[in-house]
């Protein structure tokens, strides 16, 4: 993997936010992005839970990478990730029960989130602890950003609120655009976001 100068430590962090944003560029981790973003709070809550698991698992995988044989690495990753998922599952049940109720089955589903297993396999297994930590953090921020944007937009159009507080007039909130809250709206919105990303990328390429 020797292509050009070694990327700086900071770039591991920043690349996950825009250039290699997991949801909009790498197109992984789509399920929670669409399912849990009915409101901004839910989206952010989900992102924080997934980030916790991503960062912790990246660090642990990186820490034990030298002693894990190649043939059994996937099951080992899965055990590590499911440990952290179980932790966050019970923590959320205890301290944020309404959030837990909303997110439902998607909390344990973090264990099969492509982002987490993908980064463990593609990055943490081959890099040091600090780098893996920064990479995990960067991807988490990128993921959280997308979830926050999606959640905000869907909540804004779908119920006229932001974090539960009304921001649009009552007349709108009486008959909001329900399309945004329901599944079709989620697909539609992420399609538009991806088109925006493509357009920006195309514009940059033509310069």
């Amino acid at each position: 993997m020797n292509n050009g100068p070694k990327p700086s430590r900071l770039s591991y962090l920043t690349s996950g936010i825009v250039k290699e944003n997991p949801t909009l560029i790498l197109m992984i981790g789509l399920c929670p992005t669409l399912a849990t973003t009915v409101t901004a709070r839910d989206g952010l809550g989900m992102a924080l839970a997934a980030s916790f698991v991503l960062v912790c698992s990246n660090v642990v995988v990186s820490a034990i990478r030298k002693i894990v044989p190649d043939s059994v690495r996937i099951p080992i990753f899965i055990i590590i990730i499911s440990t952290f998922v179980t932790i966050i599952d019970y923590v959320m049940q205890a301290y944020q029960p309404d959030l837990y109720r909303v997110l439902g089955v998607f909390v344990p589903l973090i264990v099969v989130n492509c982002i987490i297993l993908g980064r463990a396999e593609a990055f943490a297994y081959h890099h040091g602890i600090i780098d893996s930590f920064l990479d995990g953090l960067g991807k988490s921020i990128g993921f959280a950003l997308v979830l926050f944007i999606m959640g905000t937009l869907r909540e804004f159009f779908g119920s006229g609120t932001f974090f539960g507080k009304a921001v649009l007039p009552a007349a709108y909130r009486a008959q909001p655009m329900l399309f945004a809250i329901f599944p079709p709206g989620a697909f539609f919105l992420i399609g538009l976001l991806k088109a925006l990303v493509n357009k920006t990328a195309l514009g940059k390429r033509s310069q």
Binding site: M27, I28, L30, C31, L34, A35, I74, P75, I78, I79, S82, T83, V85, T86, D89, Y90, V105, P108, L109, V111, V112, N113, C114, L117, F182, P183, P184, G185, A186, F187, F188, I190, G191, L192, K194, A195, L196, N198, K199, L202
Partner: protein, 193 residues
Amino acid sequence: MNSAKIFLAAFLVNNIILMRFIGLCPFFGVSTAVSTSIGMSAAVLFVMLLASWVSYVLYHALLLPLGLVFLRTAVFILVIAALVQFVEMFLKKYVKNLYSAMGIYLPLITTNCAILAVTFFNINYKFNLLQATLFALGTAAGFALAIILFAAIRERLEDAPISPAFKGYPIAFIGAALVSLAFMGFTALFGIS
């Protein structure tokens, strides 16, 4: 709950991909051609049924009596990973045509959220073994329906004149939005209580 209702609800009303958003990565990845979608659906059906049974037995016979319910995430995903590997080896040896048809999709299924989700739903909805089987069948059928329909649409999108920014994923998402909208019509039927 009525058995037919469980199947139909899993199949149409609460369609796992279009209404629950579970299983999206393979949905968008494999649905570029109808032939690959059929192969993927077959693999999903196979693994989903087996995983439902094994996880059900393990949960009720082992975890529940021993008070180790919190281990279910780890146990289920381990079982699914091992099951998939076993099924791949078994098919390769004894059912060669099936292996060549859907074998390459089997490794992809380990991270397929749909399988793990079904195992969790079986517990949350407190199904018995028969109900769990119907639910798994219905979900797999719903997965197949969604992915094959969508593949047919995407095959036509290949040649359609679409503006460059929307080519690829964006127009696929918007297509999925329309199919999902159509499926929302089924919610008038019933849901799983």
